[in-house]
């Protein structure tokens, strides 16, 4: 029986057909080929079935639309889109949704909320001890519903949800800034996910696509020790040369740094107009990059910022043309850099 159609869209079908045939004939999976749900990926039973596939009658089918990936004998299909899938070691930004017994529930944009155990946060004052019942009772004084924090994924439970920790001074409650959400697949994983940007702004690019833009802390992370008038720290510094690695903090300093202040709800009272303006432009630049579906990196944000200086008002960046021209500028300047090096 032949089914006809009144109007036929431009046919891509030839292309599609050849794709399927190829993988069928060769009886093995081709590198970066696209598959859609229900499509036969391979009928060779030697492959191990990974994510995005299912197995029926000795045949492996795709269950999502995406590209086939092969790692040794493991065959999986990586979906084009989808929610963030936490992995151990990811630096994420999240929002507290629930305070429960000895734990917080944190929305990190994944399929399920992550948990942050009371045991995996720093106590005010930096005392290192077991958490007692009284700590449990004042959990809401540390973090309450709606608070934003950045944390690291400590482990993944068998059902796929994540457990977080904030046992470092670079993690913890977020202040002095603005929250922004982009699709998580646009964030490119790297060694470091917090950066200082030109214009006295810092950024945390959560791997989960949650971003925090904030005023660079008045005494930058490295200078913290010098800026502080604390005598103990001064002598500590006088020992000379010993400079704790960026972000990580020695136990002695942990005590002084992590007073109740790390859980304070008060914003810095002097955030100047220019800082606010810069935050707004960065916000719009990141929105523009995500509109153009460009991967978001520190360098691209800075290039976007340079491109955005041509626009007087950061509010005008939300126009569609402006967003597209920024994306183009970023790609162009990236090409130029590529040629130069």
């Amino acid at each position: 029986m032949d089914i006809l159609k009144i109007t036929q869209p431009e046919a891509l079908s030839q292309d599609v057909e050849s794709d399927i045939e190829m993988s069928d004939n060769e009886n093995e999976v081709t590198g970066n080929s696209l598959v859609t749900p229900g499509e036969l990926v391979t009928d060779d039973p030697v492959w191990m079935k990974g994510h995005g596939t299912y197995f029926l009658d000795n045949k492996t089918y795709s269950s999502v639309a995406g590209s086939v990936s092969r790692v040794n004998r493991l065959l999986s299909v990586i979906p084009l889109r989808g929610r963030y899938q936490p992995e151990t070691g990811d630096h994420v930004v999240g929002r507290i949704t629930e305070v429960g017994p000895k734990r917080w529930k944190v929305d990190i944009g994944g399929k399920q909320d992550a948990v942050l155990m009371l045991g995996s946060v720093n106590l005010p004052g930096g005392v290192l001890r077991r958490k007692s019942e009284s700590d449990e009772l004042q959990m809401r004084n540390f973090l309450k519903e709606g608070d934003l924090l950045n944390a690291e994924v400590q482990s993944i439970f068998s059902n796929g949800s994540a457990s977080l920790h904030t046992r470092s001074l670079k993690y913890g409650k977020l202040r002095n800034g603005i929250f922004l959400k982009v699709p998580s697949n646009l964030i490119i994983k790297s060694k470091n996910h917090s950066f200082d940007l030109p214009g006295n702004i810092s950024i945390i690019l959560g791997v989960n696509g949650y971003i925090w833009l904030y005023k660079t802390p008045s005494s930058g992370r490295k200078n913290n020790i010098n800026a502080s008038s604390n005598k103990a720290q001064a002598s500590f510094d006088a020992k000379g040369g010993y400079n704790p690695g960026q972000g990580s903090v020695s136990i002695t300093r942990l005590e002084e740094e992590s007073s109740w202040e790390i859980y304070s709800d008060k914003n810095d009272p002097n955030i100047t107009g220019s800082v606010r303006k810069n935050i707004a432009s960065y916000y719009n630049i990141i929105k523009a990059l995500s509109h153009g579906e460009l991967g978001i990196t520190e360098q691209r944000i800075i290039m976007g910022y340079e491109a955005s200086l041509a626009y007087g008002n950061s509010g005008s960046l939300i126009e569609k043309e402006a967003m597209e021209s920024i994306c183009e500028d970023v790609l162009n300047s990236e090409k130029m850099r590529g040629d130069a090096s």
Binding site: M1, I3, I6, V64, G82, R83, Q112, S290, E293, G295
Partner: protein
């Protein structure tokens, strides 16, 4: 029965189609990238539907949690301007509830629910215009949006309606035809001949049912191919952007 001639002796229907012709089928995937995990837009003739999927996400209501698999919620809202006569529709209209339940039952089979324990997948469908084949269009829109959301499914579900005029089966009915004859709506699993949805609200002689199903299944396969084309078009577009 009706004054209008639904199927002329020359073999032409009210809108000039033959018995086995589909209406124009147009679909778009990822139409609302910022506001939903997955989204789609489907036009089947003059029936127009927007679908937005959010999830898998933490259930808003603890009691809905199911540790063995995802809970799937459908929410069809029919705009009051979707028919030729403007009509205010309440959310709890029996007809809408029935549509929700039918779609839930259909997609519970197709989504690999066990991969998403303790989560909710909510599918919001907005009907902008109706001209017959509503359930079929809703099914197609949901399939596309679920694929866009990256949710694991066994296969496409493609829906189509088909009616019986006298003894001749007609494919993909519009409102006029739907009101003048008995019809069924089916949802077919991928390129197989398996049905995951079959809705028949009036009577059809058993002898004619097989013909009717055959033509409807063939029509569904065509719809599946058209949806597949759109998914691949979008996938290629996206893949070309991601490569740096």
């Amino acid at each position: 029965m009706s004054r209008l001639e639904l199927y002329s002796p020359e073999g032409l229907r009210v809108d000039g189609r033959r018995w086995n012709e589909l209406r124009r089928f147009d679909c778009r995937i990822n139409t609302h990238p910022q506001s939903a995990d997955g989204s789609s837009y489907v036009e089947q003739g003059n029936t127009k539907v927007i679908c937005m999927v959010s999830g898998p996400k933490e259930p808003s209501n603890k009691s809905q949690q199911n540790s063995s698999g995802a809970v799937i919620e459908f929410n069809v809202s029919i705009a009051s301007f979707s028919t030729t006569n403007r009509k205010k529709r309440s959310k709890n209209e029996k007809r809408t509830i029935e549509l929700n339940t039918t779609l839930e039952r259909t997609f519970e089979q197709s989504i690999i629910r066990k991969l998403y324990p303790r989560t909710t997948i909510s599918v919001n469908l907005h009907v902008l215009a109706q001209d017959g084949g509503l359930l079929a269009a809703l099914t197609n829109a949901s399939t596309l949006a679920l694929i866009d959301a990256g949710i694991s499914m066994y296969d496409y579900i493609s829906g189509i309606s088909a009616g019986l005029h006298d003894i001749s089966p007609l494919l993909d009915l519009n409102t006029l035809e739907e009101s003048g004859m008995s019809f069924l709506t089916i949802g077919v699993v991928g390129n197989s001949e398996k049905l995951s949805l079959l809705l028949l609200e009036d009577k059809i002689p058993l002898d004619n049912l097989e013909d009717l199903l055959a033509i409807a299944i063939a029509g569904s396969h065509r719809i599946r191919d058209l949806m597949d084309q759109e998914v691949r078009r979008h996938a290629n577009l996206r893949a070309s952007k991601l490569v740096k």
